[in-house]
């Protein structure tokens, strides 16, 4: 039965017998004059598993979007064998056999596997438009056979395990026949971020089996360990160009990180503008501004963090490590539990955003995050939002003149453009928005700040202002936690950096003791992945 499925799979449904390679030639794209991809050449062989890796900003995601047909390249071609894929045409690309499973899986949680299977594709119908569910179930069964696995078809997928959901998404990608024929290439974008180590092995088996049946697989991932295990060859993107094509058998993580970062790889992060000097007295005898023990949330397990006055702690981690939630969880803005929390040495019961505000702990989301500022408010209204009591009198009456003066003062101090305090905040650039958010919280004179993604979407000039402000805050004795995906931020600011993996603190790098470089961070981030972190 299994052999039959194999043979049926190897023989393609249409006339072409030779499996085609996916070839990318001189692919380039620019956005408003900014060149994101510089004439890329890549060949993905049918029947093999290829890894595609690259650091933030390498052009990796843009390349995937061009392949999927969401973007049109400015120049260059993508062809399957001799057949050129029409640019910017997702449906044609899909029919030609190029299928995608994106990170979020694009499945409806309340639907069953069977109901998800048909989504977005073509249903088998019976009579006038009625879905032939029996036939659909047969098709899904065939897809699972091809993957060599099976998943309950009639339960809502929210009840399945993470890897089972991934398999449903893959089954949907391969099971849809379409007009042109069956699947030829499967692109998996960050498939393992939500998977346990044991589940990853299961996924690897399925992927390898699929490849053996003639389908080419392209794996895009930050989890370097997984890439080395699953792939036969690995292409590395850096700054919009392909810098290396490596044989996975002769690779280790160090090699990959070196390729991703380039010549600057081994360079220990130099002192930028006097930043990053080792702070004396950072670990003073004063009680911690904020200490949280046993923090548990949907994505975090048993995290302990202490912030001392005058100290900056950076937190980094890959997607799925819990890094994105850490600041919010510490402030109690997410449903979470803790074993113990102390603020300034005094134990407190659970924190919430309102309590944090009272205790002068600021939770500062980045301008791209939800809950950072009210877009429809004016600058003035946003700037004073958390400190209204300082401009209010009896009955909570807001003294307009005081408020306006305050707004002007901060606008000047941070050089926020445009300088009109009545301007609607949503019309500002990312950098200026970030300044407004920062100013809003600095106004309460916090003793601790928990910041999430402070420089996302922020232009270079504003980044400097923000970094300087944060540095000043720490120098004046404040405690700072910076959670970010931008490694250079923590390298220039932090006294120590925590690396999260799978919801736990995998390792800690201390300035002066450990190597403080993007390379060491990337290695640490990749090191935890897939190995059941938590022993450290």
């Amino acid at each position: 039965m299994e052999t039959q499925a194999f043979e049926a799979a190897i023989i393609p449904d249409d006339a072409r017998m030779v499996p085609d390679d996916l070839v990318v030639e001189r692919l380039a794209i620019d956005f408003d004059g900014k060149q994101v991809l510089h004439g890329i050449d890549l060949t993905f062989r049918a029947g093999a598993v290829h890894g595609l890796i690259g650091h933030n900003g390498s052009g990796k995601s843009t390349l995937v979007r061009i392949l999927a047909g969401y973007y049109r390249a400015s120049s260059g071609t993508v062809r399957l064998g001799s057949h050129q894929l029409p640019p910017g045409a997702p449906r044609s690309t899909h029919r030609a056999g190029l299928r995608f499973v994106h990170q979020e899986l694009a499945l409806v949680q309340e639907f069953t596997a069977l109901e998800n299977f048909g989504l977005g594709g073509e249903y088998s119908t019976r009579g006038p438009g009625a879905i032939d569910w029996k036939q659909q179930a047969v098709r899904l069964g065939k897809a699972f056979d091809r993957l060599g696995c099976t998943v309950p078809m009639h339960r809502p997928i929210s009840e399945l395990t993470a890897v089972e959901r991934a398999l449903v998404a893959i089954a949907r990608a391969i099971g849809d026949v379409g007009d042109g024929g069956s699947i030829r290439f499967l692109v998996l974008d960050e498939p393992t971020t939500t998977l346990e180590p044991s589940e990853r092995d299961h996924l690897f088996d399925v992927v390898r089996r699929l490849a053996t049946s003639g389908v080419g697989v392209i794996l895009i991932s930050h989890q370097l360990r997984d890439v080395i295990n699953m792939c036969t060859s690995i292409s590395v993107l850096r700054d919009g160009s392909v810098v290396e094509n490596l044989d996975a058998a002769h690779c280790d993580r160090e090699r990959l990180v070196a390729a991703m970062l380039g010549p600057a790889a081994a360079e220990v992060n130099a002192d930028l503008d006097g930043a990053g000097r080792i702070r004396s007295g950072a670990r003073s005898e004063q009680p911690a501004s904020l200490a949280v023990h046993g923090l548990r949330s949907p994505t975090l397990r048993d995290v302990d963090i202490e912030l001392a006055p005058g100290e900056c702690v950076g937190v980094v981690g890959l997607a799925g490590s819990g890094r994105e939630e850490i600041a919010y969880a510490l402030a109690g803005a997410l449903p979470c539990t803790t074993e113990a929390v102390t603020v300034g040495g005094t134990p407190v019961s659970a924190l919430s955003p309102a309590r944090c505000r009272d205790l002068k702990i600021a939770l500062v989301p980045g301008n791209r995050q939800a809950g950072s500022m009210v877009s429809s408010f004016s600058l003035r209204e946003n700037l004073t939002f958390t400190s209204l009591d300082s401009v209010a009198g009896r009955f909570g009456h807001i003294n307009r003149r005081k408020e306006a003066a305050l707004a002007r003062e901060w606008i000047e101090r941070f050089d926020i453009k445009p300088g009109d305090a009545e301007y609607e905040t949503r019309l500002l650039s990312g950098g200026n928005k970030q300044k407004v958010i920062l100013a809003k919280w600095l106004r309460i004179q916090p003793q601790a700040m928990l910041i999430d993604e402070p420089t996302a979407g922020v232009d270079v000039g504003a980044v400097k202002t923000i970094m300087d402000t944060l540095r000043e805050f720490v120098d004046d004795g404040g405690s700072l936690l910076v959670s970010t995906s931008e490694l250079s931020d923590v390298l220039s600011l932090a006294d120590r950096i925590l690396v999260l993996s799978e919801g736990r603190i995998w390792t800690e790098l201390v300035r002066g003791r450990d190597e403080f470089s993007e390379r060491s961070l990337l290695l640490a981030m990749a090191g935890g992945a897939g190995s059941g972190a938590g022993d450290q």
Binding site: N56, P335, G371, V374, S375, S376
Partner: protein, 357 residues
């Protein structure tokens, strides 16, 4: 230079913008209406008496519209305003008929009943966390049922017609009845609290972006509760005044006032404070509706014409705010999302950042 982008009326705004149709279009519409109906029936329509009639007859409608400004600003619907008005009115009437003829006590009972209704709304919407649209729709049917039960579905007029009716509603200054003054006072006080106080700022923040308010340390539910109870009290006051006006506590108040109040509140949000619910705009909107109603009546328009006009105005008001893309329309979108149960998240922060390249 940056005129288009400033949020609202502020010292720097030019007169050209202050008087533009975008800002006060309803007033221009009102002028047009007066001109049109004045041309049709110059002798009957264009008189001070008509003007007073509009004010007197629609001041109570305005009160209900004003009641809605707070909860809508805080991101909540309150569909029970009509029913609460009826409930308070019946409460006053019943007190007069069975307990005492003292108008002050009757008014107090009516308002107390309204407070209880407001607290029940809080229980349903804030504690049980039922979507406000559905929750208040449900409570409104409960309140209406109570009204019908207490009144046996008949107007209660015993003792209502006497000093109560006279003192609360029919007393007038130069032909302008008291409810008009209630309306003006409520409008001013509401505007003050909404625009000039911390409470008002927090309310607006919750309405625009609840998450920002929450993360900023605002006690969201407490602020919303104050909004809901205040709304109930104001609606109750309207109900008591209308009972005094009619000389009888009537169950039909509930359905009569709901739609005009929402129309006025939403239309009001397009005026003066672009995209934000505000008392001034609400009152102007009611006067516009009232003038048109009376105009149509005097001109001998068919009975259905008033409702059609009102419906059209509501649609236009929403469409106009949709083009701004801010404020009231968000409520509708959010509400639809809640109905589908898809977008509902409790206390979770959306941390899906955008990763480029």
């Amino acid at each position: 230079m940056t005129d288009e982008r400033t949020v609202r009326d502020h010292p720097g705004m030019s007169w050209g913008r202050r008087l533009s149709p975008r800002n006060i279009g309803a007033i221009y519409a009102w002028v047009i209406v007066v001109v049109v109906f004045g041309a049709l029936n110059p002798s009957t329509f264009l008189s001070i008496a008509t003007g007073k009639q509009v004010l007197n007859q629609y001041s109570i409608s305005a009160l209900v519209g004003l009641a809605l400004v707070l909860p809508l600003s805080a991101g909540l619907f309150d569909l029970s305003v009509g029913a609460t008005a009826a409930l308070a009115g019946i409460g006053s009437a019943w007190t007069l008929a069975h307990v005492t003829t003292n108008p002050a006590i009757a008014v107090a009972v009516g308002l107390a009943v309204a407070v209880v209704a407001g607290l029940i709304n809080c229980l349903v919407v804030l504690v049980l966390e039922v979507d406000s649209f559905i929750g208040t729709l449900a409570t409104s049917s409960i309140y209406t049922a109570i009204v019908i039960a207490v009144s046996n579905d008949e107007p209660i007029s015993q003792n209502v017609n006497g000093s109560f009716s006279r003192d609360v509603a029919l007393r007038n200054v130069h032909g302008i009845t008291f409810p008009v003054f209630y309306m003006i006072i409520v409008m001013l006080v509401l505007a003050y609290f909404l625009e000039k106080t911390v409470f008002g700022r927090q309310t607006q923040a919750i309405g625009f972006d609840r998450e920002v308010a929450r993360l900023g340390g605002v006690r969201v539910k407490a602020v919303q509760a104050i909004g809901l109870v205040t709304c109930a009290v104001l609606a109750g006051a309207a109900g008591v005044a209308e009972t005094a006006n009619l000389g009888a506590g009537s169950p039909s108040i509930a359905s009569d006032y709901l739609l005009p109040a929402f129309t006025a509140a939403f239309l009001g949000a397009t005026q003066f404070r672009r995209g934000r619910f505000n008392p001034w705009g609400t009152v102007v909107a009611i006067l516009l509706l009232g003038t048109t109603d009376i105009g149509l009546l005097i001109a001998g328009g068919p009975a259905w014409s008033q409702d059609v006009f009102q419906g059209v105005v509501l649609i236009v008001a929403i469409a106009v705010t949709a083009s701004h893309g801010i404020g009231p329309v968000k409520y509708l979108q959010r509400h639809l999302g809640s109905l589908l149960g898809v977008f509902r998240r409790k206390g979770a922060v959306d941390v899906s950042g955008v990763r480029d390249a």
